[in-house]
């Protein structure tokens, strides 16, 4: 269905080709997952499928890309729209119309699908992706996860033979991600659709994959193989595979169900050990830094938060979880003083952040927003760091040093927009940390991060906590939470529904449980690291 024949591609002005001698054959009806570190050319590979590379991006492409019998050299993306549906990394930027239903119909209108068929497909898609209640909603009012589902729906309605998705679940909460992946699975099964998707969160997709394509980057050849065989040697792997490798299971389990069936002996060996206690107890002694009482926030008629209570102590890492649109970002905005509470009080370090000048607030609380790009506007990394130091009144070189520690080996003269997503996040973090705010807030920090970058982020957060900072992170990433959070707070519909030690909260609800906890239930293990430590000790 998709044929890459010795494809080499370089962006205009680049000295090194992004793709080198890529040959790949994806047969019809296969679900193929593209994995690899950030910046290795996964997105370029995906965009080459429908001809955006090179028709839209420019650059030189050698070799041949053939899709459903059409050569992308002679067919620009619009002439491939009936066979390839592409969902980009940032779905909101691709919306053409302003209402959900119209957006779903847009591609079909361009293709001239008969009105009766369009109507039926829109209804089917609304059901398939759980968008029925949102059909009349303006696109701008949707949460990130809802937008993602609309974006997927808007290409599905055209019934392309091939679906290409770039990080389709990165903005979704675990249940919504499962729903989307289940929908994709159904498309592959029922309609024989060919799916090519890139994803960093392998724990979500690897069990659905027919084949894995590893893009090693640096001009090395692609590695293609069956999931179990690829996972045995891949440098990026989900926690489940980590557990399997640790326990020496063969074949490697890819789904929680398979792993649980293999886990009998491991459970026996672990029964003698008890999990290394919830780390929250170790850090609970710090002073109280932030105090939120009875906080309510309304956006017009919508109630975003309803009498939320939250206390944050120094030295504690707290995870804020909950489905898309449950009010996580609103809590962060209130803590940093961007929003005025409708009722209740927010005190950080004894003072209310709302209404105080930004420079003043930055000394007590810093927020890295969901789009770290918003924080960056200088034209080089060095200028960005210098500006941050002068804004924060820190000695020159402070944020530069922090950034180099987070991401070693990045040239200072580069433009922030040329950094990879993970590097930009680290730059934004360095900018905020230059003022050394005691309370650090992060909104969806793991979006677009690969496993090594995530591991580094975990180290950074632990160091911050050890230095007496309080850290609050709003995230959907259960594995990250299991790894790092002392305490977890779950929001639903603007109210706190759970607040307690991470191990208690995440093992209670299957949606938020990490893979290791699911496999080793009823024992309460959260991470591969814990298990490894117990077995070694």
């Amino acid at each position: 269905m998709i044929d890459f024949d010795r494809v080499t591609f370089s962006y205009p002005g680049a000295s090194e080709p992004t793709l080198r001698e890529v040959s790949l054959h994806v047969p019809a009806g296969e679900l193929c997952v593209v994995v690899g570190r950030t910046g290795t050319g996964k997105s370029t590979l995906l965009c080459a499928v429908n001809g955006l590379v090179p028709h839209f991006t420019g650059g030189a492409l050698a070799g041949r890309v053939c899709v459903a019998g059409r050569d992308t050299r002679t067919h620009p993306p619009r002439e491939l729209a009936d066979v390839v549906g592409l969902v980009g990394q940032n779905p909101a930027a691709g919306f053409v119309t302003d209402v959900v239903e119209d957006e779903l119909a847009y591609a079909m209108e361009s293709l001239g699908v008969p009105a009766a068929t369009m109507r039926r497909r829109v209804e089917d898609t609304l059901d398939l992706l759980g968008l029925v209640a949102l059909r009349d909603r303006p696109l701008g009012t949707l949460s990130a996860g809802q937008q993602q589902r609309v974006a997927i729906g808007s290409v599905l309605t055209a019934h392309p033979a091939i679906l290409v998705l770039d990080e389709p679940t990165s903005a979704l909460d675990p249940p919504a991600a499962e729903e989307v992946l289940a929908a994709l699975q159904r498309l592959v099964h029922d309609l024989g659709m060919t799916v090519l998707l890139a994803e960093h969160r392998l724990e979500r997709v690897v069990q659905y994959a027919d084949r894995i394509v590893h893009v090693p980057g640096g001009g090395a050849l692609l590695e293609v193989g069956r999931p179990a065989q690829m996972m045995a040697s891949s440098p990026v792997y989900p926690p489940l595979v980590g557990l399997g490798r640790l326990a020496g299971w063969d074949p490697l389990p890819l789904s929680v169900r398979d792993a649980r069936r293999a886990a009998g002996s491991l459970l026996g060996r672990l029964a003698a050990h008890s999990p290394a206690g919830p780390p929250a107890t170790a850090a609970a002694a710090g002073d109280r830094l932030a105090d939120v009482r009875g906080l309510s926030v309304t956006y017009g008629p919508v109630i975003a938060l309803r009498s939320v209570d939250l206390r944050l102590r120094r030295g504690q890492i707290v995870a804020l979880m909950g489905r898309n649109g449950s009010g996580k970002s609103t809590v962060l905005s209130c803590l940093v003083g961007l929003l005025k509470p409708a009722a209740g009080t927010v005190l950080v370090d004894g003072r209310a952040p709302y209404g105080r000048p930004g420079r003043d607030v930055l000394r007590t609380v810093g927020l890295v927003p969901q789009e770290p790009d918003d924080l960056l506007y200088a034209d080089s990394v060095a200028a960005e760091c210098a500006q941050a130091d002068s804004d924060a009144g820190a000695p020159a070189g402070t944020s530069g040093a922090i950034f180099r520690r987070l991401v070693p080996g990045v040239a200072d003269g580069g433009h922030p927009r040329d950094l990879s997503e993970g590097q930009r996040l680290c730059l934004a973090l360095a900018v905020i940390l230059s003022a050394a705010p005691p309370l650090v807030l992060l909104d969806e920090p793991t979006r677009g991060l690969d496993y090594p970058a995530k591991a580094r982020l975990v180290d950074i957060l632990r160091e911050l906590a050890a230095d007496g900072h309080a850290v609050l992170l709003a995230t959907h990433d259960v594995e990250m939470v299991a790894e790092v959070a002392h305490r977890t707070v779950v929001l639903a519909d603007g109210e706190v529904v759970a607040d307690g030690p991470t191990v208690d909260v995440v093992t209670q609800s299957p949606g938020f449980a990490p893979q290791v906890a699911k496999v080793l239930a009823p024992q309460r293990w959260l991470t591969v690291g814990d298990v490894a430590a117990a077995l070694a000790g």
């Binding site: 619009r78 930027a93 591609a107 009105a115």
Partner: protein, 357 residues
């Protein structure tokens, strides 16, 4: 029997509003003008949707008030003086002889203010009519109804219209981000610091949007011969120019008669031909097209009836009350009763689904 609730064809509401605006353009009688604004407001209150654009009426009303104030201030400071009851005598700036028609300062008369106010009110009420159309049927819904030949242009306009609200959203996001970094949001540096990332972001987003539209089939040629495409475009364009000229002739009572109905008729003919030609060969289809049923005709008829009545009444002192000598403008009964026709859609048109009353 009441009609089943549904969304009226947006074209019907827009034509109705254009009818009202035409009527407003033919009179400076403040009583009639206020009646027109009230009529539009009543229908909006009865039939507005819950789309974001439904607040447009109030926005346009406020804009209208600004127009009135600006016009009165400008006319009393710089306009040609009307003799009459002097309210304030401002000192007049002496200007050289080569600027005979220009005046700065001088006496402000009640008559001058009234004349400017009436003119401003007329503009404001026409704006209100446009606001009413926006509130009753969002412009993007209207643009979805353009004939197939204009589809691409229509999508481009829709995209352009979503640009402004997105820009506002980006500005507030960047402002928030600057606050997070402890940067000033005010002053010259603040504005520059906000403008650069906002424009960069807008540019980036347009590129992403273009990529998305391209990959979803926007602008597929579908094998239409280039000669046909060009002919269609030429006929359509000249038709639209004719329509515009005709509309100008009809609305401006001082323009030559040939610019009015004849130009309108010719333009309509050309435009319809061009659009029919283009639409016959087009590949595209329409999702849930709005249907044009008897209630649509009724609503359009109400709007047109009012417009025709006001045009037919012509230049009378009832429609254009003189400001000198000063007098209280009368209420021309026939015109006022005629206006009631424009109110009918608030009962006769189907209710908006999902709106409880």
């Amino acid at each position: 029997m009441r009609p089943v609730p549904r969304h009226l064809h947006p074209g019907a509401w827009w034509l109705w509003a254009v009818g009202l605006a035409t009527a407003a353009s033919r009179t400076t009688n403040p009583v009639l003008l206020l009646l027109i604004a009230a009529t539009a407001g009543y229908v909006v209150a009865a039939r507005r949707t819950n789309a974001p654009s439904s607040r447009a009426y109030v926005v346009f009303l406020r804009l209208g008030l600004v127009v009135i104030v600006v016009r009165v201030v400008l006319a009393s400071l710089f306009g040609a003086p009307l003799p009459g009851h002097t309210l304030v005598a401002l000192p007049r700036v002496a200007l050289p002889d080569w600027a005979p028609g220009v005046r700065i300062g001088g006496p402000i008369t009640l008559e001058g203010i009234l004349a400017a106010g009436y003119g401003g009110l007329r503009l404001a009420v026409m704006l209100c009519c446009i606001g009413a159309a926006n509130a009753l049927a969002s412009p993007s819904r209207l643009l979805r109804c353009v004939p197939g030949a204009l589809y691409e242009a229509g999508v481009a306009v829709v995209v352009a219209m979503t640009f402004a609200p997105q820009l506002i959203a980006t500005v507030s996001r960047v402002r928030a981000a600057r606050r997070l970094r402890g940067r000033p949001n005010r002053g010259l540096r603040g504005i520059r610091g906000i403008a650069v990332p906002v424009l960069e972001g807008a540019l980036e987003r347009s590129l992403e949007l273009a990529a998305s539209m391209d990959s979803r089939g926007y602008g597929r040629s579908g094998g239409l011969p280039a000669a046909t495409r060009r002919l269609t475009a030429a006929v359509t364009l000249s038709g639209l120019v004719g329509l515009a000229a005709g509309a100008y002739g009809l609305l401006d009572s001082g323009s030559p008669a040939v610019l009015g109905l004849p130009a309108m008729a010719l333009g309509t003919l050309l435009a319809v031909t061009g659009l029919a030609l283009g639409s016959r060969r087009t590949l595209r289809s329409r999702y849930r097209p709005d249907r044009w049923l008897p209630p649509e005709w009724l609503v359009v008829g109400c709007g047109l009836a009012v417009a025709i009545a006001f045009v037919a009444l012509g230049q009378t002192t009832a429609l254009q009350p003189p400001v000198s000598p000063l007098q209280v403008p009368g209420l021309p009964l026939a015109a006022a009763v005629g206006l009631l026709a424009a109110l009918l859609p608030s009962w006769l048109s189907p209710a908006v689904p999902g709106m409880t009353r």
